[in-house]
Every structure is written in structure tokens, then in C-alpha cells.
Symmetry: C2
Subunit: 238 residues, 2 copies
């Protein structure tokens, strides 16, 4: 690896980096619709739902609305989109179940084994805009072997606010330079580097399916550029 | 078990309940002293150190001092006791190393296997007065398979303040009655029950060595009374 020192902890972006949100949600909703006899553009709904993600967090970052957990941002976007897509017949229990689909996302094929290798030497955790309950349930469902779960609700801030990256260092009693941010998104790593963290990139070219527009390759000389989480472990010697 | 419903999450008191702080620290300090040629009443130091634990947190609870992490309370007590015990020749690095002994405590023999069984069905974590870094390092060292680490610094409060017990429920998006507090200390469980949590007790009669004075048995009809963590798993059907 390019870096001359090793991190003590590695924190991972989660949606898209560790878990495949798009395929997971489309598969779950298609099965749900088939079982319930509800015909809808489920893939379109999922893409629109994710498209609402950054704008909904931006309202929190700007202070237009107070701190709101991602589960609740997801739910507000879902309610709006279900109406826009003209999907009828969903009960409150259905909507709550669909919203919890973000707790049941499937890992990319390399994730669980790669994280298990990294866990042998490093403290590992998600540093995600998801809330602690979402990330904890996701880990149970997907078998992600985190040491600690850094949800955005621990900080009352969403990435790329510096309170998130620096909050990990504070809670682990480490210097920022002892923490490595790992992500499939160059923007996340740029913010982490701005706070003094080490950085590791690997691409997830299938994250957005046919709609992927960016993050096919490293855009800066990150400390590590890998093929996936398994390759990150190999490059870090575990 | 006596309870008619199952918890979703089980959180564990840590010092004394999951790890054997007294034997661990005495063994480590005795080895340290022997290696360095420093003769001291290490067992007496450890007992006095632990005796300073509750009074030091009480100053925080009462607001006499602002929020202070347990690592820093431990260090202040250690500095005072090293002088009182007349232990000379310790460098700053020595004192920092000794203070981090709380990060290296050994689990009781039943702890790791019992927690691994419970983790199959329940969300498990420590709910401890230790800070996140202490508890995360302890888990790495001892092999404790937590799903999430609830350190007191997440809440800015020490047990038995209700913010700690209720904070777990809030972060996991659960009702207090869906969370079970497990401890070898009746007082901890009484506070948890007062917040609406379920409760599980098992004794650790060797926690204080020859100085144990209480907590040999359940003092209330806790939801589960077990022999140890393995027996708790058995009673919960895992």
C-alpha cells in the first residue's frame, strides 16, 4: 500500500460500499408486489427513493429541519413517492415494512469475508448516514462482523459534516490519522481526508445499475486503492 | 424463564459481570512489578482503585465536575493511589499503560461462549460505565462478540442515571420493555427495571475476591435468574 503507517481502525461507508441497496430493494419489493398482487414500477421507485436521499439529508445539514434519523427521512420520501408512482393498497404496516427494507440489504459478495479478515487486526465499523438501529439490524441480517456501529445519530450529523469523521476518532480515543475511511465514493473520502483521516477506495460500478454516473475509479491518490474489501485486506496484510 | 415475552436486545453490565477486573488487574500488575523490579501491594492498589470508582462517578452524576470519561476518572484515581501506596519509579508511559489495563480485562470463563450463543437470536452489547474506546478495545482483547458498544460517553451519563438505560432503547429504536439488562449487580437491575427494561441476574461471587459483600443472590424477582451467561442463553432457548 502507499501509506507508510497502518491505521488502528477502519470505518466503512455502508450503502453502496458494503451492501448492494439497489438490487436488494428491487428484489424485495418485486417479491412483495407479486405476493400482494400490486403491480408497480418497483425499480423506478427504488431509484427515485435513493435520489431523494441526499436532498433530504441536505435539509438537515442546512438546519432547515432539526435532527431527523435516516429511517424517518426514508419514510417521508417513501410516502411521497408511493403517491407519485400511484401505488395503491399499501397499509401502514406495509409502508413500515418496506421502509425497513434498508435494514435488510444484502452485502456485496466480498464484504463479509473481507471484513472478517480485517477484523483480525483492525477495529472495524460502519460510518454511515444510517441510524444505529438500521445499521445494527443490517449487520445482524447480513452477517457484518463490526466491532462498533457508528450511526449518524451518535453525532447528530450526516456525512460529509466533519463531526462524523472526527466523532469516530473521538469515540475511539484515536488521532484522526489513526482512522481509515473506506468508501466506494470519492466525495466521502475527500471529506474524510479533509479531517485528517486515512482513506481507502474500491469501486462498486454496479451500485446504481444502469444509472451509475461516477465513482468508477479513484479521483485522488487515496492511501489505498483496492478492487474490493478482500483486496483491501490483502493490501493491508491480513 | 419467568418472562412471558422475549427481549429483542440484551445489554450487559461489563466490569464484574462479563470480565473479571480484579484478577486480571492484579495478575497484570504483579507481572509488571516483577519485570520492573518494583515491589508494591498490587492487590491493595487494585482494590483501592476499584473502591474509588463509584465516588469518582458520583462527582460527575452530581454535576460537581463536568462529563469525564471513565478512562480519565481511572487515571486521576491511579495517580492519587500510586502516591498513597508509595510506589516510585513509574514513568508517564508506565502510568498510561497501567491505566489501559482496564482495556485488557479477561472474561469470565463462560462469557465468550455464552455471548456467542445469545448473539444468534438477540442484539447484544455492553451497557457499561466504560467509554466506547475502553469497551471496544476490551472486546477485541477478550473476544467479546458484541453487536454494538454502548459506552457511557454515548450518553454523557453514568449508570444508574436513566439516560443510559433509556438511551439504549432510543438508539435501537426499541421500547424499554424490549431491552433486557443483564448484570451481576442487583442495584444496576433495579435502576434498569425502574426505566421499564427487562432484567437478568447471575452472581459473580468472586468479583471482589475476599472482599465481596453483596450480590451473592437475586434480591428481586428479576425476569431471569441464571447461574452465568451460558445458563442465561439456555433459559432464553438459544
Amino acid at each position: 500500500m502507499a501509506a507508510s503507517v497502518m491505521p488502528v481502525a477502519i470505518v466503512f461507508d455502508t450503502f453502496g460500499t458494503v451492501v448492494d441497496w439497489r438490487s436488494s430493494l428491487i428484489a424485495e419489493l418485486a417479491a412483495f408486489g407479486a405476493a400482494r398482487g400490486i403491480v408497480a414500477d418497483w425499480a423506478g421507485l427504488v431509484d427515485a427513493w435513493r435520489a431523494a436521499y441526499h436532498p433530504s439529508m441536505q435539509l438537515v445539514r442546512e438546519g432547515a429541519v432539526g435532527w431527523t434519523r435516516l429511517d424517518d427521512l426514508h419514510r417521508a420520501s417513501l410516502d411521497r413517492l408511493v403517491a407519485e408512482f400511484g401505488i395503491a393498497g399499501l397499509t401502514e404496516a406495509d409502508l413500515a415494512h418496506i421502509n425497513r427494507g434498508w435494514h435488510r440489504l444484502r452485502p456485496w459478495p466480498d464484504a463479509v469475508a473481507g471484513l472478517a479478515r480485517l477484523k483480525r487486526r483492525f477495529i472495524i465499523g460502519p460510518l454511515s448516514n444510517g441510524n444505529v438501529s438500521l445499521l445494527t439490524n443490517m449487520a445482524k441480517h447480513a452477517g457484518l462482523p463490526w466491532d462498533m456501529v457508528f450511526g449518524s445519530d451518535l453525532f447528530g450529523h450526516y456525512k460529509p459534516d466533519p463531526e462524523t469523521y472526527l466523532g469516530v476518532a473521538r469515540l475511539l480515543d484515536l488521532a484522526p490519522g489513526q482512522v481509515m475511511m473506506a468508501a466506494a465514493h470519492n466525495g466521502d473520502l475527500a471529506a474524510a481526508r479533509g479531517c485528517g483521516l486515512m482513506t481507502a477506495f474500491f469501486p462498486r460500478p454496479g451500485e446504481y445499475g444502469p444509472h451509475q454516473k461516477r465513482d468508477y475509479a479513484a479521483e485522488q491518490a487515496w492511501d489505498v486503492v483496492a478492487a474490493d474489501i478482500g483486496d483491501l485486506a490483502t493490501q493491508l496484510g491480513v
